[in-house]
Symmetry: C2
Subunit: 403 residues, 2 copies
């Protein structure tokens, strides 16, 4: 299924031959389909009449472009379809017949009401990979529970795990559950596509933001399993290693990561406190964990005498892992960010690049921007209005269509 | 490449036919290869002599099993190989010849020093997908900078974005950068495997925890691009919508997510403060953002009179998205977690399940546990000691081997 002219600005990639029909909206689904797009797939975004994807109305804006929308829709084509009207439904079904992948993140049940359940669409295209992303999944008692990122973060336990012992549960400062759901949706699609090469059959991929966030719980979940008690918030320190935390220098904080006794000895020497390595309270990692607050106080007494820049240089030179605490601007301006092509331009806007680097495929610094609403509507209506000659006649839509 | 007896406890999945040689250790790489394993691949974990993967020595423990190790190594086979000794190198190269995927997360340059660069291994197996995961990537000035999760969180900006305006930068309460790197490594592998079906060629996948975390920065990165200033920490509230935050009830906090004026009106009515919806300070979302602190005070004055459980029922019944703030124990015990099979057992230990649900493949509640050190060593040495008859003779190892 070939690329149209609109798409030729995009890189070639491992998914060059794919046609993706993208019904997802807001952040979670579009984040997943942007990875497909970055890796070469042709992604046609279907938007509802009116203002299209809600995120087109979200700030911040540059000119009339929503950055929120632009970030997760770069490189896609846009067509407005009213999926309750016969003419547009016919175009949609023609797209489905030719598509490799369909993605949707409506509330579970919505697609079936439209007559577009997996079962219905698999009948007209058995090779279709149909990916559903949702807050809590297609099954279970919370399946249709409203699921904004903040709700899923709150209910998964990750908010309770983040923050300081004397502070409140803290939301991860990015829409973590949305993004986890999106990237795992991509994982499911890519896996099902690989399997299709063997089986010739499509599949239904069902990914939940909630499940995806649980998979990211890691040590907190394991501690609960081990002790039967929920883990406590521990701020910036490591649960099992010390010193492994943010420390205050004279001017600002920085990070020291000492994973073993050898590194701890090097650290103590580097900061002019070699006697700490011989202190019985700090002899082993277990000792250091047991006396973590005392250790931090001893270290910060020394560290507070010089700037973070000083200590980063001195401690790094001693072979101990350290790093600065950077804000987003500083992170974006790191030479490493440039060298890794992680600050790209799409449609004249700068945004994070594609983290999936694969040899043999270009990783362009300038990518096609996000489409304006219905930008490719006329061309797509023409392309998908006539039935391809090799295809069977269209089926009657399901009788349970919501109108 | 068929499954051995050791593997038959695992589910079948889309990657059933794959042999993965896994040199990754600690968290980041093993998280990625666990997804491959969950989805059916045979994953052989190669561990160094001594105590094997470092995480075998990390708590918490159940009996003699490290939960940390067990979580990200379930279903894998283990063999101890000394990659600097000729006999073990020969076994390793025999594995490589037959493998579909090789994964490693050594510091960049280490594999080349061992004579196992992508180029060297592609010569003996051109179909090999060779995936490198690292802190900062295989290229760029920070390529070999020590990269623990906390350092990458600190340097990516996500720590600076997380937390409250009057508090410090806050580490996400889970090893987010490790996990992001691992899941994007999986994305690269699955994509390259799909492409191999067309090209017959392997590829080198190069994923960095740093890049992966930048891709997760979302609104903070976009705000910086838009305004030229780094975003400020905003605690638990939403950057663009209000009320969309954690609110205090009489007993504990809970989440309300009001994305538009209609929902705001329903909320005000539900909590017995209908006049707030008519208040000029709160008329539109932009007004509510501009008077966010006043709005929160008004809402909490009402909400603090009843319990969170009361408000969750009342506000949910009104059609406004709400949710409890749960700890990990409460999240694990949600009926939804059970219904989605997200609390599984592997090797007698409970842990998060596989969030990638694909129709046509089982999603077993009981999976094979993580291997003991060298558990499959004898069997694997036998399986991979003799050259497969169809394979060419072994190449001479590179001359730059580090010994």
């Amino acid at each position: 299924m070939s690329h149209t002219a609109q798409h030729e600005g995009n890189s070639k990639g491992p998914f060059d031959d794919l046609l993706v029909i993208d019904l997802t909206h807001v952040l979670n689904g579009p984040f997943g389909t942007t990875i497909l797009c970055d890796l070469g797939a042709r992604v046609i975004k279907i938007e509802p009449p009116g203002h299209g994807d809600d995120t087109r109305t979200y700030g911040p804006y540059v000119g009339d472009k929503s950055l929120y929308f632009s970030f997760v829709n770069r490189g896609k084509e846009s067509i407005v379809l009213n999926l309750k009207h016969d003419e547009d439904r016919a175009i949609f079904l023609n797209m489905v017949r030719q598509a490799d992948v369909l993605t949707e993140n409506f509330r579970p049940g919505t697609m079936a009401k439209l007559g577009f359940s997996y079962e219905a669409l698999a009948e007209i295209n058995p090779r279709l990979i149909y990916a559903s992303s949702s807050g809590f999944g297609q099954t279970g008692p919370l399946s249709t529970f409203p699921a904004y990122d903040t709700i899923v973060q709150a209910m998964s336990g990750i908010m309770d795990e983040t923050g300081f012992p004397d502070g409140p549960p803290t939301r991860v400062g990015t829409s973590l559950s949305d993004l986890c759901g999106g990237v795992f949706m991509f994982c499911g699609i890519a896996s099902a596509l690989y399997a299709r090469e063997r089986t010739g059959q499509g599949a239904h991929v069902d990914v939940a933001m909630f499940d995806a966030t649980l998979a990211f719980l890691e040590h907190g979940f394991m501690s609960y399993v081990s002790t039967g008690n929920a883990p406590q918030r521990i701020g910036n320190r490591h649960p099992f290693m010390a010193p492994f935390d943010v420390f205050a220098a004279a001017d600002k904080p920085f990070v020291i990561c000492c994973g073993n006794d050898h590194l701890f000895g090097l650290l103590c020497a580097a900061i002019g406190r070699p006697e700490l390595a011989a202190d019985a309270r700090f002899a082993t990692n277990a000792d250091r964990i047991a006396h973590e607050a005392q250790l931090k106080a001893e270290l910060e007494a020394a560290l507070s005498r010089e700037t973070a820049a000083h200590w980063l240089e001195v401690i790094h030179a001693a072979g101990v892992p350290v790093g600065p605490v950077l804000n987003v601007e500083e992170a974006a301006k790191l030479p490493q960010t440039e060298a890794r092509n992680m600050l790209i331009e799409a449609g004249g806007l700068r945004m994070p690049g594609n983290p999936v680097k694969i040899s043999g495929y270009p990783d362009p610094r300038v990518r096609t921007g996000a489409p304006t609403l219905d930008q490719h509507g006329a061309a797509l209506r023409e392309e998908f209005s006539a039935l391809p000659s090799a295809q069977p006649t269209p089926p009657t839509p399901q009788t349970d269509i919501a109108r």
